[in-house]
């Protein structure tokens, strides 16, 4: 019956680059070879013209693999050329952006299947309204105004009824008294409003505070970029939130079902003489059998929860254990679509169909979880150590309880992170910070899942399927074989264990077997040293256009500008004056720490005023002495090795630091490397305490480095930079091989996100000594004799 009625017909499919659209086209080509023509409505994207999209986004899909195998490449291409055409349709414009020829082509269609939609539950409100609501209304209006007689099959969703209880009939959803036109106008016009809102002083200054706390020392350009990124994210989140809240307030699960419900109202109102069928599938999951078992594209609703379950991200889950989880395999939906397409109502009439499983073959949440557990007990996922993860035992507590627990934990982690970020950086701190970050990411994920999908497991209704089953009854047995869509015909255990769960695991690329090399071998021999940076150095051996830039304080030497100052001043002061000096330093310390956190340059400027009034030659002499007494003691052996590796490879080596010339020049001389550091102004042999040039910190480093590269013919994309703090970010960003050495918590986060190499260089053990000169030394005492 279906093939007969579709034979020779011209069909138009919208949304054919999507999962369902693709599946419909494939099934048509494979099972209804007598079909007249299938026109794919595709819009040119900014990147690709419509015809290209057919090839790249539709025909290359695995869905067509079976067809290609059956027909051979040649036969397949012939079939495509014969049956498929592309029609450029833009659902975002009134009149669909059609040319006259296109219009004619549209009108020549016998059946129009509208499957285009923005299906993510967390889409921004304006996008959902545009695509789901306005797109559908434009299509139906164009058809009816042109006097088309084509049968319009509008794909909707079972959840248009909102959060109903009990049996849901195949009729228009309850109307909360909304005007779809008004809703569409409000929602699609939200973006300018929210953009505007994002630029209000309150929001912008809050975002700026966030950016400063995260990126402050990295300098103005980095911070500005961060603010803009945060603002864009804020706009998107806000639009999503507005959509969600709006939908929930109107009694819907999310913006998707809300806009779809409005769309149903719109198409019913506008369809005029066009025969209209509305098909409402429930949650579409991977195919049961066609084109192959487990055909699925993109993650939908159940998958994130299943993975979270298998990975133990969700230790417990809220939901009604006896609720019906209405999943439906995609091929059943495809067959339903074709069956409905082949059974048009009379002109001007509309009919609504549910495609769901809850009525004839219900799967309850508890059963689903039990089946999942059974499966993952046999095929567990593995953590990064190759250890099997046991699936959790879900007790289904009330939603607010689970969510409350997660939120409390998140708050605790936030507090811990706040503290850790403000503690002095060190290897231990970095490790704690990493751990916290990981827990935080897990919790965020869990909360997101609760927020998005939790509601579906609380839905307590069953979808009536009378209309669809009526068609089923009329199908001859042979066609029932070709186009099965009765949900009572399959077994959930088989579907989940053999089809769906393996598909989810395959698509998530999660480890299910412990890989070779991850298995513990019991060997206690030290692991071979795989130093990737050294390999990079080797690869650039002998190139004089490569530079290795090193920050000094914290990267090469475990020290900071304060310690040098203290040491040099103490060395020149009699013992009796030490306590007063220490008191001075202690008084200034909190202010310097705060400044340092805000901006490295400001801190350096402020601190170097301490040098005002000191004799330059004296300081130079003391700086030389500090080389042996402070610098070399606290030099990282690994850092020296690295510098030597670069020099051996023929690279230039540059120390770029905010430290003072008097203390770093002796070191640079000894290492035999170039140096760019801070200089203080000297008047009559006395230091003024003012800097000769802006301190080389933050973005100033990137300009310095740029200038250096231009002057020396350096290729920065091939060069190396080593640094320890966020204020060096601009410098790290410029080179091809950035290395974060002993990074502070904030740089560690950034480096982790960007996949930069993080190295931990320890001080030579046993050299921890406060930078205080030995007051017993005759050399020291002889100064005052």
């Amino acid at each position: 019956m279906i093939s007969e009625r579709l034979a020779g017909k011209t069909l138009l499919v919208t949304g054919s680059t999507g999962f369902l659209g693709k599946s419909i086209v494939e099934k048509l080509l494979r099972s209804v070879p007598e079909v007249g023509r299938v026109t794919l409505a595709i819009r040119s994207s900014p990147r690709r013209p419509a015809a290209d999209r057919l090839d790249k986004e539709v025909l290359s899909s695995p869905a067509f693999r079976r067809l290609k195998e059956e027909l051979g490449e040649e036969g397949f291409r012939k079939l495509v050329a014969e049956k498929l055409t592309v029609l450029e349709i833009d659902l975002g414009r009134d009149g669909l952006g059609l040319s006259e020829a296109g219009r004619k082509e549209l009108l020549g269609c016998d059946i129009v299947i509208h499957s285009a939609a923005a299906v993510e539950f967390d889409n921004p409100a304006d996008l959902s309204a545009q695509t789901n609501l306005l797109g559908a209304s434009r299509l139906v209006r164009t058809l009816s105004e042109a006097g088309s007689k084509a049968h319009l099959v509008h794909i909707s969703t079972a959840y248009v009824g909102g959060m109903l209880r009990g049996r849901v009939q195949e009729e228009l959803p309850l109307d909360p008294g909304l005007n779809w036109r008004h809703e569409a106008e409000i929602l699609s016009g939200l973006r300018p409003v929210v953009e505007e809102e994002s630029r209000t002083p309150e929001v912008l200054s809050r975002l700026q505070r966030q950016a400063r706390s995260r990126m402050g020392p990295a300098g103005t350009p980095s911070m500005a970029r961060t603010v803009e990124r945060l603002r864009e994210k804020w706009v998107k989140d806000r639009l999503v939130e507005r959509g969600r809240v709006h939908a929930r307030a109107m009694g819907f699960t999310d913006i998707y079902s809300f806009t779809k419900a409005m769309a149903e109202r719109a198409v019913v109102e506008l369809h005029g003489q066009v025969p209209l069928s509305i098909l409402r599938p429930s949650i579409i999951e991977s195919s049961l059998a066609e084109p192959f078992p487990g055909w699925l594209e993109g993650f939908r609703m159940a998958e994130p929860i299943i993975l979270a379950f298998a990975r133990r991200v969700l230790p417990d889950f809220a939901g009604l254990p006896d609720t019906v989880l209405d999943l439906i395999p995609a091929d059943l939906v495809v067959n339903s679509v074709l069956a409905v397409a082949a059974s048009p109502p009379g002109p001007g009439e509309h009919r609504i169909y549910h495609a769901a499983t809850g009525n004839r073959n219900p799967l309850r949440l508890r059963a689903m979880v039990d089946l999942c557990r059974e499966y993952f007990e046999i095929h567990p996922l593995r953590d990064r150590y190759g250890q099997a993860i046991g699936p959790p035992e879900w007790t289904f507590p009330p939603q607010n309880e689970v969510e409350g627990r997660a939120k409390a934990m998140k708050a605790a982690i936030d507090v811990a992170q706040w503290i850790v970020e403000r503690l002095p950086a060190g290897a231990d701190m970095a490790r704690i910070s990493d751990d916290l970050n990981e827990s935080r990411i897990r919790l965020d994920r869990a909360l997101e899942i609760f927020e998005l999908y939790g509601i579906y497991t609380n839905v307590d209704c069953v979808y009536e399927m009378k209309h669809l089953m009526d068609i089923w009854e009329t199908l001859p047995a042979a066609e029932r074989e070709v186009f099965p869509f009765d949900p009572a015909t399959f077994d959930w255990r088989h579907y989940l264990h053999q089809v769906h769960l393996p598909t989810v695991i395959r698509m998530s690329r999660a480890d299910t077997v412990a890989r070779r090399g991850k298995q513990p071998t019991g060997s206690t021999a030290p692991a071979p040293d795989k130093d990737l940076t050294l390999q990079q150095i080797k690869r650039r051996e002998g190139r004089s256009d490569v530079v290795a830039v090193f920050d000094v304080d914290g990267t090469l030497i475990e020290t900071n500008v304060i310690e040098y100052f203290v040491w040099m001043r103490l060395k020149a002061k009699p013992l009796a004056e030490w306590p007063a000096f220490f008191a001075d330093i202690a008084r200034g310390a909190p202010r310097w720490l705060t400044l340092e956190r805000r901006s490295r340059a400001e801190f350096i400027r402020n601190f170097y005023r301490q040098y005002g009034g000191l004799d330059y030659e004296d300081m130079k002499r003391l700086g030389r002495e500090a080389l042996h007494e402070v610098t070399l003691k606290r030099l990282y052996p690994e850092g020296v090795r690295r510098i030597r590796a670069h020099k051996d490879a023929g690279h230039r080596v540059l120390l770029l630091t905010g430290a003072l010339d008097v203390v770093v020049e002796p070191l640079a001389e000894m290492l035999g490397v170039e140096l760019d550091c801070a200089h203080l102004l000297v008047r009559d042999g006395i230091l003024t305490g003012d800097l000769a040039e802006p301190p080389p910190a933050g973005e100033a480093r990137s300009t310095l480095l740029d200038g250096y590269a231009a002057a020396n013919g350096i290729q920065l994309a091939e060069s190396f930079a080593y640094a320890d703090s966020l204020s060096d970010l601009p410098m790290l960003e410029m080179v091809g091989v950035p290395v974060a050495v002993n990074p502070d918590a904030r740089l560690s986060t950034v480096a982790g996100q960007r996949g930069w190499r993080i190295e931990r260089w320890p001080m030579a053990p046993g050299n921890w000594r406060l930078p205080i000169p030995d007051p017993r030394s005759p050399e020291y005492r002889s100064q005052f004799a």
């Binding site: 030290p526 080389l627 042996h628 070399l632 003691k633 606290r634 030099l635 052996p637 020296v640 090795r641 030597r644 000894m670 290492l671 035999g672 001080m763 030579a764 053990p765 046993g766 050299n767 921890w768 000594r769 030394s777 005759p778 050399e779």
Partner: protein, 525 residues
């Protein structure tokens, strides 16, 4: 007459025995029947050192009196031993300072104006101003520092000249100032028989190219031991080099020796046998033990390194190198020699906080090997105390720590070389050249206070014979990872170590404990 050294058998009445253990101590109960070798008590020092020095200068051995060698307008260079001698450093005044003052005074009286003093550091680290001041004394220091009193620099090509080659082809290099002087006066302090003689000048003012002639694994394997020059290939080579120098430069050699009064009054119990400890010694030991068990290494190190030894001078001789050195060795042996009957299966010894290369510094794991298995083990004449294939058990915490200023090449030697191999021959052939010629270590040696890049290799070669001779080496109380890196076995207690040693030497082994320092020389027959 001081009490001579002794070998005591452990019986039921023997109190627990003291083991040095880095910057700390352990008391161990040795199995019944074990032997403990005690050093002789300090011999009586010379009453008036200054007078003895003056006498030696005016009655030299096979040479003219010093004042006859001095004349106005001449170039005089005074070279002296560095801070690796004596151990621990001598409480002021250092005997070298006394000798130098006499020489400088004599020169002044003779109207010599061009006088320079050079610390003969060889490939050791350059001493700091404070350290040089301690050796030469305030008066000389303020007069000559820093232009006419300085450290030898073995890596400055303009400051070293090739004197010639020995008949064995060994290169002989000498400090340029010394080679151009009309007279070189060498002021030595001999603590153990290895020091002094021709080795002073040939090595002290030489450079890597002359030192590498004899600081090789093969030479050291043929030195049985280098603590007894007649049986030492190392010293034979030094003598060849020194004789060549004597031909080229006029040398006036002054050697001093001190007794083994190594510990000041606060740690006097270290100087005594446990049976002789008074209540006061017991209390001092108990207090020090508690403190050293609890205090962090840094604090302990600072305290221990500030201890200076109240040595007394036992001899001073001047004149021709060989004649002087014979007299000196006689004095040194008089203080150090302990006759020991027969070899033993197991030797135990505690490695103290100090070796020649970590004065005012950290004894890193490589130096533990150098001090324990190099110097202390090799203090024998005729045969080692342990039989061939026997086991040496040392006690030291063996922490993974390094002084970054003094021992930069040691860190890399430990991290890179020892991670690869601990075999002296392999280390020598594969790594020595690279470290010796490394530009960074050279910089650190010349401009800072670092040991030469090749120095950790010599420290390791020093133990080469021990590694070859012994069946096993066990470290008690050491950091496990470090001990493994050094290629040894690690034990928590001495009892466990003895059990482990039995696997190598068999049941009921004979055990000898060397209760040193104070230093002694075991004459094994």
């Amino acid at each position: 007459m001081a009490r001579p050294g002794a070998v005591i058998e452990v019986d039921r009445n023997t109190p627990p025995t003291l083991f040095h253990y880095g910057e700390g101590f352990r008391l161990e109960r040795l199995p019944l029947g074990s032997r403990i070798v005690y050093p002789p008590d300090p011999i009586d020092p010379i009453g008036h050192p200054e007078r003895a020095i003056r006498r030696a200068l005016s009655n030299p051995l096979e040479d003219d009196p010093l004042k006859e060698l001095l004349r106005p307008g001449m170039k005089l260079t005074i070279a002296f031993d560095d801070l690796s001698l004596p151990l621990p450093p001598m409480a002021a005044p250092d005997v070298r300072g006394l000798v130098i003052e006499e020489v400088v005074d004599a020169a002044a009286r003779a109207g010599v104006e061009d006088v320079e003093l050079i610390a003969a550091i060889s490939l050791h680290r350059k001493m700091t101003a404070d350290e040089i001041r301690h050796i030469v004394g305030d008066r000389v220091f303020t007069t000559f520092w820093p232009d006419r009193l300085y450290n030898h620099d073995a890596e400055d090509p303009s400051q070293n000249v090739l004197i010639g080659r020995t008949n064995q082809g060994e290169e002989v290099w000498l400090n340029r100032r010394a080679s151009e002087s009309d007279l070189v006066v060498y002021v030595n302090l001999t603590l153990v028989p290895m020091d002094g003689g021709h080795k002073s000048l040939a090595t002290g003012l030489g450079c890597y190219r002359s030192v590498k002639a004899h600081h090789t694994v093969d030479t050291l394997l043929q030195s049985r031991s280098y603590m007894h020059p007649p049986d030492s290939a190392l010293h034979a080579s030094c003598v060849r080099q020194g004789e060549l120098i004597e031909d080229a430069v006029r040398v006036f050699h002054i050697e001093t020796s001190v007794n083994n009064h190594s510990f000041p009054a606060v740690a006097n119990f270290l100087q005594k046998r446990e049976t002789d400890w008074t209540t006061g010694d017991q209390a001092a030991f108990f207090a020090l033990k508690q403190v050293t068990d609890l205090a962090p290494p840094d604090v302990k190190r600072a305290a221990f390194h500030s201890m200076l030894a109240p040595y007394g001078m036992t001899g001073v001789n001047a004149g021709q190198v060989d004649k002087v050195h014979d007299k000196t060795l006689e004095n040194v042996r008089r203080q150090m020699m302990v006759p020991v009957e027969g070899q033993t299966d197991i030797v135990t010894l505690g490695v103290p906080y100090l070796g020649p290369y970590n004065v005012n510094s950290i004894m890193n794991p490589v130096l533990v090997v150098c001090t324990g298995l190099g110097y202390l083990f090799n203090l024998y004449k005729n045969k080692p105390v342990v039989r061939e294939g026997g086991v040496v058990i040392i006690e030291h915490p063996c922490r993974y720590e390094f002084n970054a200023v003094h021992h930069p090449s040691y860190v890399d030697f430990y991290d890179e070389v020892l991670a690869d191999t601990t075999d002296p021959h392999e280390i020598e052939s594969r790594y020595e050249k690279r470290f010796a010629e490394d530009a960074w270590y050279r910089q650190m040696y010349q401009q800072s206070h670092a040991y030469h890049g090749v120095h950790p290799f010599y420290a390791w070669y020093w133990a080469a014979f021990t590694l070859q001779h012994c069946g096993d080496v066990i470290v008690v109380g050491g950091d496990r990872a470090t001990v493994h890196r050094l290629g040894f076995k690690s034990a928590t207690t001495l009892e466990d170590a003895l059990e482990m040693a039995e696997q190598t030497v068999g049941r009921w082994p004979s055990i000898t404990h060397l209760r040193t320092p104070p230093l002694m020389l075991c004459e094994v027959d």
